[in-house]
């Protein structure tokens, strides 16, 4: 089966620290998978390597069979990889609508002349994408007005704007960095349903970094566990839950021995 995303022996060092160490990772299209691991395990670094924010020291990253290493983040986004950030990074002094329109940046075709003379191409495109942005707002379940500045929105709503902004680019693959961080159980459940809809309704492949085990176990078809930059386990949620190395990484050696005994 052709992989959508493939990492081959990817390594990233920061000075003496090996943040990601010889990680292999493959992902078929249409999956929802999770990456878990204790704090500092290299999960977000892995996302940054895929999206081009960091360049790996060695190893390869392939998207639809083509290498990504060496491309700029904006070029990688244009190829169909979108992401959200662990600590929300919205354009806080822009409105909800504007944030989503920025997310559509790669899809605008009007050239500067169209813009200056407001040709029909410019106006139609602007209208069409604004309409789509309104539909995206509804899709993620935002209750705020599209004209509200995002910095005035409550936390949960901001998370939804960030998701809508990522979806705006029509990605094939979306990387969600702790999408339920800081949410209450009800919001978490809502987000979990939403993530499933991304795949089921829009056909987008999802990788998520997640700490809430209920979310991870609930929706992931496969879980990859990182610890100290190394992949220590991979498999279905059930397999991973029972893996002694995983228990050890999370709870310490003693707990692992107890669990086996």
């Amino acid at each position: 089966m052709a992989y959508l995303l493939e990492l081959r022996k990817v390594t990233k060092r920061f000075g003496g620290l090996v943040a990601v160490n010889h990680v292999d990772f493959t992902l078929e299209p249409g999956r929802i998978v999770s990456i878990i691991g204790p704090n500092g395990a290299g999960k977000t670094t892995l996302f940054n390597l895929v999206t081009g924010i960091y360049k790996p020291d060695s190893g390869e990253v392939l998207f639809e069979g083509r290498p990504l290493v060496g491309l700029r983040p904006d070029q990688i986004t244009a190829k169909g990889i979108a992401r959200t950030f662990q600590n929300i990074r919205l354009f806080s002094n822009m409105t909800v609508m504007e944030n989503i329109l920025v997310g559509m940046h790669t899809r605008f075709r009007a050239n500067p002349m169209d813009i200056l003379f407001q040709t029909s191409r410019f106006r139609e495109e602007e209208q069409r994408l604004r309409d789509e942005a309104l539909r995206l707002i509804r899709f993620v379940g935002l209750r705020a007005s599209p004209d509200e500045l995002v910095k005035n929105l409550p936390y949960g709503e901001q998370r939804k704007v960030e998701l809508a902004r990522a979806l705006a680019a029509h990605p094939k693959l979306i990387l969600l960095d702790e999408p339920t961080a800081g949410m209450n159980p009800q919001e978490t459940a809502e987000t979990t349903r939403l993530i499933r809809r991304l795949r089921d309704e829009l056909g987008i492949t999802v990788i998520l970094i997640e700490h809430q085990m209920r979310v991870v176990m609930g929706i992931s078809e496969r879980v990859t566990v990182l610890d100290y930059g190394e992949k220590i386990a991979e498999g279905t949620p059930e397999e991973v839950r029972r893996n002694p190395r995983v228990i050890e990484a999370y709870l310490g050696r003693g707990a692992a021995l107890e669990a086996i005994a």
């Binding site: 986004t77 919205l90 822009m94 409105t95 997310g103 940046h105 500067p112 789509e132 094939k172």
Partner: protein, 472 residues
């Protein structure tokens, strides 16, 4: 009969928005009467005249702001603004050329503030050497529009005829934009403070080059500067004469430059507003807000920053050229670091990212600089010559050190203004407004029947496979 008519009129005024129109008209007439009263001969001797006339002029120009804020139809606003800018102000200016000079200079700064606002306000790139592009435009025309090019290239083809002015205006825009790109390419990879330092250095480098390029080839004539710079062609003079209007060349040129500057501002506003309301402007603002997230949205940082730099620079180039032609003479002194700071203060005072703010900032600071501070200096001089003594402390004004003349307070005033703005109103006098969708548009969508969102818009990228564990 008359009474019925009056009642009808009053009702109409009460119903409609004409009440605002009347208010605006009253304001304009009042400001005009004030200007007229101050323009009478003999008024100049009145105490504090420079201050009063400056404030009156500011109040008169303020009528544009009143129009801008009044809730009236766009066409009415445009008509009133044009009447003020194209009729009233030139009329006042013919009577008092100094006012026209102030207005022209304010206009030059306003266009540059709009340009710098694109770089600093929209895209958030702190450019402390903006005046360099102004210098590039100014020297471009000064060299070829004067005999200076003969000295440099050993011909006697120059100065170019006035008719070349307009071609060179486009050329100045292009050359300044190109300079912006050339500077931007190496510079825009650095961020924040570093960008500010490098642009500052670049501004100074251009000035120092202008100061020293009198050898080995004498291109800029060094510190002596270039004179005389060719003025734009008075192509309309024969038409005026055929209409029976006779005017002296100085008056004509003053009006000419005023209208030319107005035209460029109009163009600048048009361009900046169109860009602001498109994916280009949104990308710039996104870069300002969060560079990393902007790039993650697919925005090519270097290209968009270069575009901002080049667009901003092109306004400065055009204005530099008009400035050179207007002043008749340029030297490196006109392009110091203080000029860059001055334009930056205009943008900050008006409100970063706000086009009307940039204009208001430019007008206020120009009036402050050229009218109020200079006027106060003149007043001080008269008092000094009259042998006035400050009461209570018995200090004769003739001993007041010349270093402390108000005209030399410019930097002090800029500094105080910046500090006050940062403390009291960091968003500026007329803060940037994010664009609201038309209300009707949003409401109209709400009324649409609920349907499964974006399904028809987003075709599935891959067909969703049935859910099964990754490992069987």
């Amino acid at each position: 009969m008359i009474r019925a008519k009056a009642v009808e009129w009053i009702a109409r005024i009460r119903n409609g928005r004409s009440i605002y129109l009347i208010g605006v008209l009253v304001y304009i007439v009042a400001a005009l009467l004030l200007m007229n009263w101050l323009g009478q001969p003999g008024m100049r001797g009145v105490a504090w005249y420079p201050l009063i006339s400056a404030l009156a002029f500011a109040a008169f120009l303020g009528s544009l702001l009143v129009i801008y804020y009044a809730p009236m139809a766009g066409a009415v606003k445009a008509l009133l603004s044009l009447a003020i800018l194209l009729v009233l102000l030139p009329l006042l200016g013919v009577r008092n050329p100094f006012l026209l000079e102030i207005a022209t200079q304010a206009g030059i700064f306003a266009a540059m503030a709009i340009g710098l606002n694109i770089v600093v306000g929209f895209a958030g790139l702190l450019d402390l050497g903006y005046v360099a592009f102004y210098a590039v435009g100014a020297y471009l025309w000064a060299i070829f529009g004067s005999p200076q090019a003969n000295i440099a290239f050993g011909t006697n083809r120059f100065p170019l005829e006035p008719e070349w002015f307009f071609l060179f205006l486009f050329l100045a825009v292009g050359v300044a934009a190109l300079t912006g790109i050339l500077l931007g390419l190496p510079v825009l990879r650095v961020r924040g403070d570093y960008l500010a330092i490098i642009t500052l250095a670049f501004g100074e480098v251009i000035r120092v080059i202008a100061n020293n390029l009198d050898k080995p080839i004498n291109l800029t004539n060094g510190p002596q500067g270039i004179r005389p710079v060719q003025r734009p062609p008075l192509f309309f003079k024969p038409w005026l004469q055929s209409l029976g209007i006779r005017a002296d060349d100085p008056v004509l040129y003053a009006l000419y430059f005023y209208l030319l500057v107005l035209l460029v501002i109009g163009f600048a506003i048009w361009l900046a507003r169109r860009l602001e309301n498109s994916w280009v402007g949104r990308a710039w603002t996104a870069i300002r807000e969060d560079e990393l997230a902007a790039q993650a949205m697919g925005i090519p940082l270097v290209r968009m920053k270069l575009a901002a730099f080049a667009t901003g620079a092109s306004f400065a180039g055009a204005m530099g050229m008009i400035f050179a032609a207007k002043q008749y003479f340029i030297n490196p002194e006109s392009f110091t670091f203080m000029e860059s700071i001055g334009i930056l203060v205009m943008v900050i005072l008006g409100g970063m990212g706000s086009i009307p703010g940039s204009i208001v900032g430019a007008v206020l600071l120009t009036i402050l600089n050229l009218q109020i501070l200079k006027g106060l200096s003149q007043m001080l001089n008269t008092l000094r010559q009259a042998g006035v003594v400050i009461p209570l402390i018995n200090f004769p004004l003739s001993q007041w050190p010349t270093q402390l003349e108000p005209a030399k307070y410019e930097r002090l005033v800029f500094g105080i203004l910046l500090v006050l703005m940062m403390i009291l109103r960091p968003q500026g006098l007329i803060p940037e407004q994010r664009h609201r969708m038309e209300l009707a548009e949003a409401i109209g969508r709400e009324k649409e029947p609920e349907r499964l969102p974006i399904e028809e818009e987003l075709p599935p990228v891959v067909s969703a496979p049935e859910v099964k564990p990754a490992r069987d």
